[in-house]
């Protein structure tokens, strides 16, 4: 049984880690596209259309990967975690159902209009389709985060014969951690998309793209990031306080606090040792953690020893949290520094451009690290205090789970390589393409087929 348990966890973790990469881009990229399209509608300046055209292709690819990896998970709930639906199916089912009904069809249908319909519908309708796709991805996030938050901080239900029954849907959806988590996730998506746009645009510039489009896209994305990073820090802090209130053991693991104590120092670095229940090589600043968590330098914070047997593994949370915060700080420095340069109209040096390229996927790192902290932080429970992960696992033969695990893993690795390869290939191609003369564009109402270009080649 232990084997099936481990393999099922590995498989689900692989699946969901792969999946989240794509929504974390597409949720915010949808809104970026809407912004680009609206700017074009207002200014009629073709540069906005070129930005739109480049990024809508990235969106299509990203969205497709998100869809196909998402379908897999709707199967795995039943196959690998039967105990999950048996115990909390009455809660999880409707939330998942609403996601399919209100979001999936909306985004999938209008994606078709958005990608292929520009000649066939009036411009305003195409803009509306773009908006509806963005709305769809956001609604999707709403429902799935509602369910995830409910698993962290369940509310609005009662147990009858070992099965959860809904009492108050409002309380279920707007459970204690939901507003914080949703905001945190949406801002994270904003940052992921911003740094991707900035990074790929910087890559185009470094590769000798002299056009206006990558510069304008870079500027837009960097400014958005410069605003979102401090907001994210603020929201992240509120989210942390909320977690302290609802899941103190998770925060204790994140901060590496073993004993309940007052005036807790902030550990910049340490090696947590769960066997001996202590840390090695601590590098600490006194009292800071108490200030962050209780807003009082001598505030008391509960330690892990109060939750023996009921707290998550410490090391992944401790390191994961530091990776997330560290990436966030790098984002802050780079976004502000680049914005400062841009506001003062100074040219961006090679160093800045290369830093932006290096940060292209920083959003992925922070997002994954953050999700690992919160999801591993829920262990040993699948639904906090209600269902243990080990009680929900399947009785399928381990070799079958092993087979599908290897199958999914190899497909995902292949797809990730193909995705990254294609993204940079598209950027390099965009460098070589001549801009179409603005005059000939503006004469026509819609965006006509131009003789020298074919599918996939417009910049």
């Amino acid at each position: 049984m232990a084997d099936v348990f481990l393999l099922s966890r590995l498989q689900f973790a692989t699946n969901i880690s792969f999946h989240i990469l794509f929504p974390s881009i597409s949720i915010a990229l949808g809104w970026f596209l809407f912004y680009f399209k609206v700017r074009f509608n207002i200014s009629r300046h073709p540069v906005w259309m070129r930005i739109y055209r480049f990024w809508v292709k990235v969106f299509a690819l990203t969205f497709a990967l998100g869809v196909v990896s998402g379908i897999t998970m709707s199967f795995q709930f039943g196959t690998n975690w039967p105990g999950y639906m048996e115990t909390v199916g009455n809660i999880a089912g409707p939330l998942l159902g609403y996601e399919v009904l209100t979001a999936f069809f909306l985004e999938a249908t209008f994606l078709g209009v958005m990608l292929f319909g520009i000649h066939r519908v009036p411009s305003w309708l195409h803009t509306l389709a773009t908006l509806l796709v963005a709305v769809g991805t956001t609604i999707s996030a709403f429902w799935i985060i509602a369910l995830n938050s409910w698993m962290q901080t369940p509310a609005g239900y009662e147990m009858r014969d070992g099965v959860a029954h809904a009492l108050d849907w409002w309380a279920i959806i707007f459970n204690p951690s939901f507003p914080y988590r949703l905001t945190h996730v949406l801002l994270a998506s904003g940052l992921t998309a911003s740094f991707l746009i900035a990074g790929i645009s910087a890559y185009r510039i470094v590769r000798g793209d002299n056009k206006k489009a990558p510069r304008l896209a870079l500027k837009t994305a960097v400014f958005v990031a410069a605003i979102l990073v401090p907001l994210q820090i603020f929201v992240g802090d509120l989210h942390g306080l909320n977690t302290l209130e609802n899941q103190p053991q998770k925060v204790a693991a994140m901060e590496g606090i073993w004993d309940t104590q007052k005036g807790v120092p902030l550990l910049l670095f340490a090696v947590p040792d769960e066997k001996n229940r202590t840390n090695h090589f601590e590098l600490a600043i006194p009292n800071i953690t108490s200030i962050i968590l209780t807003h009082d330098p001598d505030g008391e914070v509960q330690g892990l020893n109060d939750f023996i047997g009921e707290h998550p593994p410490v090391a992944p949370l401790f390191y994961g949290f530091r990776i997330m915060i560290g990436t966030g700080m790098l984002m802050l420095i780079i976004a502000w520094f680049t914005s400062f340069k841009l506001i003062r109209n100074q040219p961006l040096s090679k160093g800045v451009l290369y830093s932006l390229i290096g940060m292209s996927f920083s959003g992925w790192i922070a997002t994954l690290a953050g999700w690992y902290v919160t999801e591993i932080g829920r262990q040993p429970y699948l639904v906090s205090g209600l269902l243990k992960t080990s009680d929900a696992v399947t009785d399928i033969a381990p070799e079958n789970v092993m087979f599908t695990f290897i199958l999914y893993l190899s497909v995902y690795v292949g797809l990730l390589i193909a995705y990254l390869h294609t993204l940079f290939l598209m950027a390099r191609r965009a460098v070589e393409i001549e801009e179409i003369q603005p005059e000939e564009r503006l004469q026509q109402k819609h965006f006509p087929k131009t003789p020298n270009t074919t599918a996939g080649e417009l910049s």
Binding site: A64, G93, H119, T404
Partner: protein, 332 residues
């Protein structure tokens, strides 16, 4: 207020609706994938362009069907998907491959494009065959016997063929000239194989499946069951006659084979669904045994009653936007 005992029936109906809509809609785009020629890039482009704006939403009906099973009948979801663990994983890989191949092929260099075309075709074949296999093994109540596996294998072929049929009639509707002629040829061939397929299911199924035998021979269902094959065979026969006349001048009637195929689909599906109703796992679980708590079903039902008409409305809108013969696939 809907009585608690009726909720499972309503959800079984919704689930049946999404399965048949899925089979028709994703059926034609999977079929187009199965038929994708690897030696003619221009035709491959046209074929993929004909399903470009739709495939994503088509596939969502599968998510809805599986979702409804998960929401409304969670214990059946567990039993069915555990029994079909390996085939469903293989189907998912097929769907993943074709879904991403669709997007990758438009964005890579010419050499790699050919490879993504192959992957698209392969993924479509894998997904269709495993869906057929799963259907066959469901019909056999997940029995572990030679006959059950043989039936599942036959069903894999049958569904692949049925998808090819609806895919080729979709192409007759959406394309012209050489490709349309080719699609007519495909439709004739797959129509004949489907005829044989339905015939053999009608003969084999009651012989090897006790539950089905009883159902098919007990009135009032027996009357309905006598009509289904008759209607299907007549329609396929008429379809073949129509195909022999096509293409007509100014392309009138190009929609007829697709429509006929859809009707055949609906009849076959009803025949199948009523062979098992009210069982959601044949011979083991009825929809009442497997249903979720009424308050949960009610919560999702009210939403579904508002949202599903909206989904149908904007699906119709999307088909109207892309009405008519296919143009070159152009990304904007």
């Amino acid at each position: 207020m809907i009585a608690d005992a009726n909720l499972p029936v309503i959800f079984a109906g919704l689930m049946a609706l999404s399965v048949i809509v899925y089979a028709i809609l994703d059926g034609y785009d999977l079929g187009v994938g199965i038929l994708l020629p690897l030696n003619n890039d221009q035709q491959a482009d046209q074929m993929i362009a004909s399903i470009g704006p739709f495939w994503d939403a088509n596939e969502t009906w599968l998510v809805l069907a599986v979702g409804l099973l998960l929401i409304a009948f969670p214990s059946a979801h567990n039993v069915i998907l555990k029994a079909l663990y390996i085939p469903s994983a293989i189907m998912l890989v097929g769907l993943i491959l074709r879904g991403v191949a669709f997007d990758f092929r438009a964005k890579v260099a010419q050499v790699n494009k050919h490879r993504w075309n192959q992957i698209f075709k392969l993924g479509s074949c894998i997904a269709s065959a495993s869906q057929g296999y799963m259907l066959g093994s469901f019909v056999m109540g997940f029995e572990d016997s030679f006959m059950a596996y043989a039936f599942a294998a036959l069903s894999a072929l049958g569904v692949t063929c049925a998808y090819s049929l609806i895919g080729s009639t979709w192409l007759i509707l959406k394309t012209s000239d050489d490709l349309q002629l080719r699609a007519i040829k495909w439709a004739k061939l797959t129509g004949k194989i489907s005829f044989v397929g339905i015939l053999s299911v009608c003969i084999m199924n009651p012989l090897i499946n006790q539950l089905v035998f009883e159902r098919w021979t007990t009135p009032p269902f027996a009357y309905f069951m006598a009509i289904v094959p008759f209607v299907c065979f007549t329609l396929l026969f008429i379809g073949n006659l129509v195909l022999k006349q096509l293409p007509l001048k100014d392309d009138s009637g190009c929609w007829l084979p697709f429509l006929i195929t859809v009707v055949v689909y609906v009849f076959c599906f009803c025949g199948l669904a009523f062979s098992f109703y009210p069982y959601v796992v044949p011979g083991k679980l009825t929809i009442w045994d497997a249903a979720s708590a009424p308050e949960s079903l009610r919560f999702i039902l009210y939403g579904a009653l508002i949202v599903i008409p909206c989904i149908l409305a904007y699906t119709v809108f999307s088909y109207r936007v892309f009405w008519g013969k296919v143009e070159d696939l152009r990304y904007y």
